[in-house]
């Protein structure tokens, strides 16, 4: 027999349930991910975190490719100025529909995000804070993230924040952890080989997902 507290864990607030049912998703083009998580939710903030080489940028490029392919305008606020247009183009992104904002500081990135989100009309707004020092990102007031989340609510904009550590977790509706890449090498001798690709592993931490999502990425650079 279930206790009241145990039962309560399985119940959700009516408004939350309505939100889940009504939420629209942007498919990422990664079959394993879309099958497990339906894609990236529109009208809310999704947090993606993981160490240096964990597949976040690969995931982002695929997301931008799907977004621009469908004719939507997408924006990338690049706090570390590390975006590689060539790789994104190989992933299928229509760069003419992508606004790339090259920032140097967290303050620039947040202000740029604020301008873009409030101007409206974007399919995807991604903020990449990965290369910023963690201590700087941790200093960003949580109120900013709540402000962004409220701004995209009831809009078709999917907002994605990429970072090295999970700092937006309280404000994000969805949090996904990217685990370190497992590179694969091709070639018989260790002196004569190439980087063939890498396996990417994602765990949905909020709301809690059941199984990790695994997919492979191919090295083409």
């Amino acid at each position: 027999m279930l206790t009241r507290s145990a039962l309560a864990r399985h119940l959700v607030d009516e408004s939350q349930l309505r939100q889940r049912l009504e939420r629209d998703y942007v498919r990422t083009g990664i079959d394993a991910f879309d099958a497990a998580c339906q894609g990236i939710a529109r009208g809310t903030l999704t947090g993606i975190w993981g160490p240096v080489s964990s597949g976040k940028a690969t995931f982002l490029h695929n997301l931008l490719a799907v977004g621009t392919e469908s004719g939507e305008c997408c924006a990338l606020i690049d706090a570390g100025d590390s975006f590689d247009p060539a790789t994104a183009e190989r992933a299928g992104a229509d760069l003419s529909r992508l606004l790339w904002v090259r920032c140097r500081t967290a303050e620039q990135a947040l202000k740029a995000a604020d301008l873009l989100i409030h101007s409206g009309g974007w399919g995807i707004v991604a903020i990449d804070l990965t290369l910023l020092p963690v201590r700087l990102v941790q200093r960003i007031p949580m109120s900013w993230w709540y402000r962004f989340r409220r701004a995209v609510e009831h809009t078709p904009t999917a907002m994605v924040v990429l970072e090295s550590e999970a700092t937006v977790k309280n404000a994000a509706a969805v949090m996904m952890e990217f685990l370190p890449l497992h590179p694969t090498w091709a070639g018989a001798h260790h002196r004569f080989r190439i980087l063939e690709g890498a396996a990417v592993q994602i765990r949905q931490r909020k709301p809690v997902g059941s199984q990790p999502v695994l997919f492979s990425a191919e090295a083409t650079a």
Partner: protein, 395 residues
């Protein structure tokens, strides 16, 4: 109506009911000219060319009845037709000096001897029309200016004045059914120089508030270096934009709002740091350019290449991070750079890549992919003179 420096031709059809006979109309026009202080002649005929010649050849008011053109013009000198010099000399040598002399000549013989120009002059001499009227289009200029009695230093004060001029220019555009595709602002400065700024849009607009805001943002980023003594604003006109929306067209940022947002972004991150990237057609690493971002909703959508496996992305470090790479038997074994330290557990490389050797800035590097014991996967490269850099990391 067709007009020139010294004449105007007006279509009088339909005025009969309002004013009366052709003579009544001619008298009314003559009186209006006198009232306006203009000295000239008025002629009415069945076609504009006969009327124009009659007005030029006769003083006062002339009315030519339909069918009577040849007789009414017969006594006028041929110089009124403005023939070419050679043709005029030929006609003079033949003793042809008046309209009547020319009109009595056979048209066929005239065509054989003088060609199509002779035929045209023959028609005019007989009072016949020589073609339709051509509407003269004057170039429309949309500009406004203001000389200031006292120099203006602050941009806030300037904004008020700019608003007036922008309203004036946009109002004129609207009245002509046009819009502005660019605005050029010239500020005359106290030091006798000029400060010129141009706002260009990817679409034509008459949104005064948007133009004013764009000008303000631009002047804030590029302020004049002296007091402002004069303001000149000019708009380049274009057809007004027509938008066709649809149910299945993806939503896009509003054009006017987007322009303001892009202007604010440029002010925030610096000019040239926000736009659409375009990969350049070269093997040089990290070669791209940033173009102006335009929200396209009607462009055809590119189909993605059917890659079943997504490509592994690389993050580029700009600028590359100088590194110290320790080698053993010419193979990297450890990496030290700012924020990066570790032992190499797997590697691939080197690959030599180079290019643009014919240019002033050739490039050459040996690239390696290194997996460190920290789990990070880096792209490092070595340039000539054994300079190592970490170029980016796979992510």
């Amino acid at each position: 109506m067709e007009s020139g420096v010294d004449y105007a031709v007006v279509d009088l059809r339909g005025l009969g009911r309002l004013i009366g006979t052709p003579r009544d109309i001619a008298m009314r026009m003559s009186a209006a000219m006198q009232t306006a202080g203009m000295d000239g002649s008025v002629a009415v005929a069945s076609n504009p060319h006969a009327a124009l010649i009659a007005a030029r050849g006769n003083r006062g008011t002339t009315v030519i009845a339909a069918g009577d053109e040849a007789r009414a013009l017969a006594g006028l000198p041929l110089t009124l037709l403005g023939p070419e010099e050679e043709l005029a000399a030929t006609l003079e040598s033949w003793g042809i000096r008046t309209f009547g002399d020319l009109s009595r000549l056979p048209a066929v013989g005239l065509a054989e001897r003088l060609g199509s120009e002779g035929v045209r002059l023959h028609s005019l001499a007989r009072g016949m029309a020589a073609g339709p009227l051509h509407k003269v289009e004057y170039a429309l200029v949309f500009e406004a200016s203001m000389e200031l009695d006292h120099g203006v230093e602050s941009l806030e004060s300037l904004a008020f004045l700019l608003g007036r001029l922008t309203n004036q220019v946009c109002g004129e555009l609207v009245r002509n059914g046009l819009a502005a595709v660019s605005l050029t602002l010239r500020l005359a400065l106290d030091d006798r120089t000029e400060h010129v700024r141009t706002i260009r849009l990817p679409f034509a607009s008459v949104d005064t508030a948007m133009f004013l805001k764009l000008l303000q943002l631009d002047l804030a980023a590029h302020p004049p270096m002296a007091e402002i003594t004069g303001i000149y604003l000019r708009a380049d006109p274009a057809e007004q934009r027509r938008l066709q929306t649809g149910l299945f067209i993806p939503a896009a940022p509003e054009s006017e709002k987007l322009e303001l947002t892009l202007a604010r972004l440029n002010a925030l991150v610096g000019e040239g740091n926000a736009g659409s990237p375009e990969v350049l057609n070269t093997h040089r690493p990290d070669a791209f350019t940033l173009k102006r971002f335009v929200a396209r909703t009607d462009a055809p959508v590119r189909k993605r290449t059917a890659a079943t496996t997504p490509p592994l992305a690389i993050r580029i470090y700009r600028p590359p991070i100088p590194a110290r790479i320790y080698l053993r038997e010419q193979v990297p074994v450890s990496v030290q750079a700012q924020g990066i330290r570790g032992d190499v557990v797997s590697f691939a490389g080197p690959w030599r890549t180079s290019g643009d050797w014919w240019k002033a800035d050739p490039w050459m590097r040996d690239e390696w992919d290194l997996a460190l014991d920290s789990g990070a996967l880096y792209r490092v490269f070595r340039e000539p003179h054994d300079r190592w850099f970490v170029g980016g990391n796979y992510d």
